[in-house]
């Protein structure tokens, strides 16, 4: 334990100059004396330290008001006004738990990891700012082992170790994002610019956030607030050649020494049609606007925060991807380029998504001496999703999907950290969620109306056995109930055999449709065990085991209908149970002088893994469609993520990030669909502080073809050509290699103002390629070259 305290005392002159200022310096957490704290009196140039009992004494002071400034290396500075009148005694409480100090910070950025024994990676503000005009999914791809599943280039969902959507928890500002994350074409409704740092925890070990994060947890935290009188802000603006777009983000924060703060932030992005290397991607623009306001009062001992955020994304979806039949799909696959290529436009036409997400949050915390910290939080989220299809007649401007998802969450936790070598955290979460599917769309509901109730309790403990070893245990219980009201076509109800198994949930019979009231309860227990061991200065190990359960999401239970962009009928299953993951992982880190290597390996065995697979074809008036059913199987995923860094000298740097993953369906003895393929990214960087703090980087990104994939191809009769055709929906695209360039310089405009100018070129060679995990890969190439100029002011 490194304890160091300095007290700066300045003294105003007065008449009696024989007074003594004496006292003790204590640790706030456990009340123990802090030994060897340094005390320096500025005006008298007197210097002393606390003794073995944490006591100090300064003699021959004059009476009057003095200001004691207590600082602590890499810690909080404390300022006290003390009236010296004769001999004066004081107890000064100091805070030495570094990770707790994120609550209030004084100088610099002190961003910490959230766990000690998990596979966790931290993205700092500079990385986030570089991706200011992109999405969360784009930024997270900087982490080895994190990829993305895309619908085009604006709808980007993070994939952690091969898992995504409901298998990942996204926390923003302490709120668990509830934004219909079940759908592959539903990107997280997050403005990256609201975050000061992002922690990505692989696996379900961080039980405080939820027990169902089989893939992992993404935690976005706002920049911390300084305890001083200050007004600061930043503005980032960028222009892009691809999509002829711009983005603008600005924030302003006012802080007060006493702990009050207030901040406002706003973002705007506007892009037109993007382009692949050889053609325009017609109807792929984006219009995004968001803002957030925060306010509160923060001190070390107590505080509260209020937060509101608004984000609206209007995203155009590649026009060529809207198809009506298998024949259209065959035409699209066989055509080497999109069937619709028009001139560039900023217009956002159907098909498109218009999604608005709002968050209101209030939290309060109080720290109790010699005990720990209590936190209480309430949040409300409103997610409104409108999806517009290409429609005819009066319905032309009507959304085909109109869903409103409202979520209320109450959470409270107690962290007992009075002993620095063992801490405990207990928590309770209560949630209520309501989904409303507007019937005015004139299209049968994709997701039914439902109410969902969640309760979770958890206990987590951290033990520091010695300087080298940390242990972590966690256990969590979750109950959730989903109470839905769903219409089924009578023919579908019978075809599924629901009339036999669920006859008792029919509440109304409308002839061709049945109204049903499925109510399902799920009980889940999750546990985690982790150990971190530092072998010596240079080598360390982590080992983890996590057991977690995930309740089927509404899409897996209730889907029922034609999915246009995929030209398939997707059917949920009321009989699905929760899936159970057992994940074992190990990390080895080597860190010496200029070389650091981090190897993260995992094995994830998932019982009753929920996935969607083709089961046959159905004829409709539009022709034949393949039917894809949600089903359960036993699956395993294993992988290795590598991050190696080598500093050749003070200017040159080499970095490699690689990830390898394999997914198997153990029951059907075949590969799992949509597994990221092998990827390796090599970066050569040069920086020179003397040349306007120049940073440059040349990056090579190599993605190999995914050779492990299930064969879901099928044959279909095409009436217009009178042929049986093999529809190849399975074969992954070829290898690709991209080169990227990045550079920036920083100009000091004045004492408080910096201007950072960045020039980034992605896909320098304008290579044409398609990515396996892009759902629009059947229809068009991925993005061509983009040149981005970014200006960043800090003031």
């Amino acid at each position: 334990m490194l304890i160091m305290a300095c007290c700066f005392i300045s003294i105003a002159h007065s008449h009696n100059c024989n007074s003594k200022f004496y006292g003790e310096v204590h640790d706030f957490h456990d009340g123990l004396p802090i030994i060897g704290a340094a005390i320096y009196i500025e005006t008298l140039d007197k210097y002393t330290t606390t003794d073995i009992n944490g006591k100090f004494s300064v003699e021959n002071l004059c009476d009057g008001k003095i200001i004691v400034s207590v600082s602590h290396l890499a810690c909080e500075t404390k300022r006290l006004e003390i009236q010296i009148s004769g001999d004066t005694f004081y107890i000064i409480n100091l805070e030495h738990h570094i990770e707790e100090l994120n609550e209030v910070k004084v100088e610099g950025n002190r961003i910490a990891k959230l766990t000690k024994t998990s596979q966790e990676t931290l993205l700092k503000t500079d990385v986030i700012e570089r991706f200011s005009s992109f999405s969360l999914g784009d930024a997270l791809k900087q982490i080895s082992g994190v990829s993305s599943i895309n619908t085009g280039n604006s709808i980007v969902k993070p994939v952690i170790n091969g898992l995504h959507s409901s298998r990942i928890i996204v926390m923003t500002n302490g709120v668990r994002l509830q934004d219909q994350e079940w759908g592959i074409e539903h990107a997280p409704n997050i403005d990256l610019n609201t975050a000061g740092s992002i922690n990505v925890i692989k696996g379900a070990d961080a039980l405080a956030y939820g027990g169902d994060a089989i893939g992992g947890v993404i935690v976005l935290r706002p920049s911390s607030v300084s305890l001083k009188d200050s007004l600061y802000g930043k503005t980032i603006t960028s222009g892009h050649t691809n999509g002829k777009g711009f983005s603008l983000n600005s924030s302003l924060t006012k802080t007060y020494k006493k702990g009050w703060y207030m901040g406002i932030q706003a973002t705007m992005k506007r892009f037109g049609d993007f382009e692949a290397s050889n053609y325009n991607l017609t109807n792929t623009g984006l219009n995004s606007k968001g803002f957030s306001i925060k306010s509160g009062y923060k001190t070390f001992e107590q505080g509260f925060n209020l937060y509101y955020s608004y984000l609206n994304n209007d995203i155009a979806i590649l026009k060529s991807s809207h198809i009506g039949s298998i024949e259209d799909l065959v035409n699209a696959i066989n055509s080497q380029q999109p069937l619709v290529i028009e001139n560039f436009s900023h217009k956002i036409n159907a098909p498109r998504q218009d999604v608005t997400h709002q968050i209101i949050k209030a939290d309060f915390y109080k720290r109790f001496k010699k005990f720990g910290r209590l936190q209480v939080q309430y949040d409300f989220q409103n997610n409104k999703r409108n999806e517009y299809d290409i429609r005819v007649g009066n319905d032309r401007d009507k959304p085909a999907i109109d869903l409103t998802l409202k979520t209320h969450t109450f959470r409270t936790s107690i962290k007992a950290d009075s002993k620095s070598n063992r801490t405990y955290k207990f928590g309770l979460n209560l949630g209520y969620q309501n989904n409303f599917a507007n019937p005015d769309t004139g299209v049968r509901r994709l997701i039914p109306d439902y109410d969902k109730y969640d309760t979770g309790i958890f206990a987590i403990s951290n033990f520091r056995l010695n300087d080298k070893t940390n242990l972590n245990f966690g256990i969590r219980y979750d109950f959730s109930r989903i109470d839905a009201k769903k219409f089924y076509q009578t023919s579908r109800w019978e075809e599924r055999g629901y009339d036999e198994d669920f006859g008792n949930i029919v509440i109304d019979d409308l002839g061709t449709q049945l109204l049903t009231n499925p109510v399902f309860d799920y009980h889940n227990v999750s546990t985690s065990v982790g150990i971190a061991y530092n072998i010596d200065e240079n080598n360390s190990l982590l080992f983890n085991y996590g057991l977690s359960n995930r309740t089927p999401n509404p899409s897996e239970l209730f889907s029922d209908g034609l999915h246009h962009s995929a030209a398939r009928i997707e059917l949920g299953d009321l009989r699905l149970k929760q899936e159970t993951s057992s994940r074992v992982s190990g990390t080895y880190s080597y860190n010496r002088n200029s070389l650091s290597i981090n190897l993260e390996a995992f094995y994830n065995h998932i019982n009753d893994y929920i996935f969607i697979e083709p089961t046959g074809t159905e004829l409709t008036i539009r022709g034949a469609f393949p039917v894809w059913n949600y089903n359960q199987t036993n699956a395993m995923l294993l992988g290795l993520d590598v991050n190696a860094n080598y500093e050749l000298n003070e200017h040159w740097l080499f970095n490699n990030k690689s990830s390898f993953i394999k997914g198997r369906d153990l029951t059907n003895k075949q590969a799992l669909i949509d597994m990221p393929s092998f990827k390796t990214v090599n970066t050569l960087g040069y920086s020179n502080k003397k040349w306007l703090q120049l940073n440059t980087e040349l990056q090579s990104e190599l993605v190999l073809r995914q050779n492990d994939f299930p064969n879901n191809n099928f044959e279909v009769f095409i009436p217009t050509t009178e042929e049986m055709v093999l529809v190849d929906v399975s074969t992954p695209p070829k290898n690709y290699h991209l080169l990227h360039f990045k550079s920036d310089i920083t100009l000091k405009m004045s004492q408080k103002t910096d201007l950072n100018i960045g020039l980034n070129i992605t896909n320098i060679l304008n290579t044409s390629y398609r990515e396996y995990l892009n759902r629009l890969r059947y229809f068009a190439d991925d993005l061509g070259r983009n040149i981005m100029l970014q200006l960043k002011f800090n003031y």
């Binding site: 039949s325 209030a362 007649g393 409202k406 209320h408 209520y432 299209v443 409709t620």
Partner: protein, 189 residues
């Protein structure tokens, strides 16, 4: 106190919010508006005779039941038939005609016809404002070949009517989105 006041205002306001949105009534059923359940082609022989009807009818739309396809009788050789198409949404009661919508947006729709074994030829009778074919009305002229074959009627939404061959009824370059594709097994005697 100030803190508590703010938090309680927030809590109360969200409770009110919640109370308004929470509604125990059963949801209203959705009757699909754009579903085309039924396509009927009425073939009237030029110069009189019994009309022949071809029909495809799929009352559960995207549901599991396959469309029911009926052909009322055989066609005669060397005969020209005037054909009228009628499109219905029979999930609504009374059934809604879709013809009107298609006529209103005739520039965004086109029917295509194909037949195997060279049993007949087709020509359009109705056109949009740009004089491009629509195809709710057309003629079928049988040749002197007898036999059986497949007559396919396809409706494309937003086809590229200016693409090569499309205005002559060739679907190859039409693109767009398929709204209907019906295959009728017919006999010419």
């Amino acid at each position: 106190m100030k803190i508590l006041k703010k938090i309680s205002i927030l809590l109360i306001s969200t409770l009110v919010f919640n109370a308004c949105s929470n509604d125990d009534d059963n949801p209203a059923p959705v009757n699909e508006e754009e579903v085309i359940t039924t396509l009927t082609a009425t073939l009237t022989p030029n110069g009189g005779g019994t009309a022949i009807t071809l029909q495809t009818r799929d009352l559960d739309g995207d549901g599991p039941n396959a469309p029911v396809i009926t052909v009322s009788g055989p066609l005669a050789t060397n005969t020209t038939y005037n054909v009228n198409l009628e499109l219905l949404n029979e999930t609504e009661s009374p059934a809604e005609s879709i013809n009107e919508e298609i006529e209103e947006e005739d520039d965004e729709h086109q029917f295509f016809y194909q037949i195997t074994n060279n049993l007949a030829t087709f020509s359009y009778l109705d056109f949009d404002g740009d004089s491009n074919p629509l195809g709710l009305e057309f003629t079928v002229t049988t040749t002197n070949t007898t036999g059986t074959g497949n007559l396919t009627i396809t409706l494309r939404h937003e086809p590229n009517k200016n693409a090569s061959g499309v205005s002559d009824g060739d679907i190859t370059n039409a693109g767009g989105e398929t709204d209907i594709q019906a295959v009728f097994s017919i006999t010419v005697e």
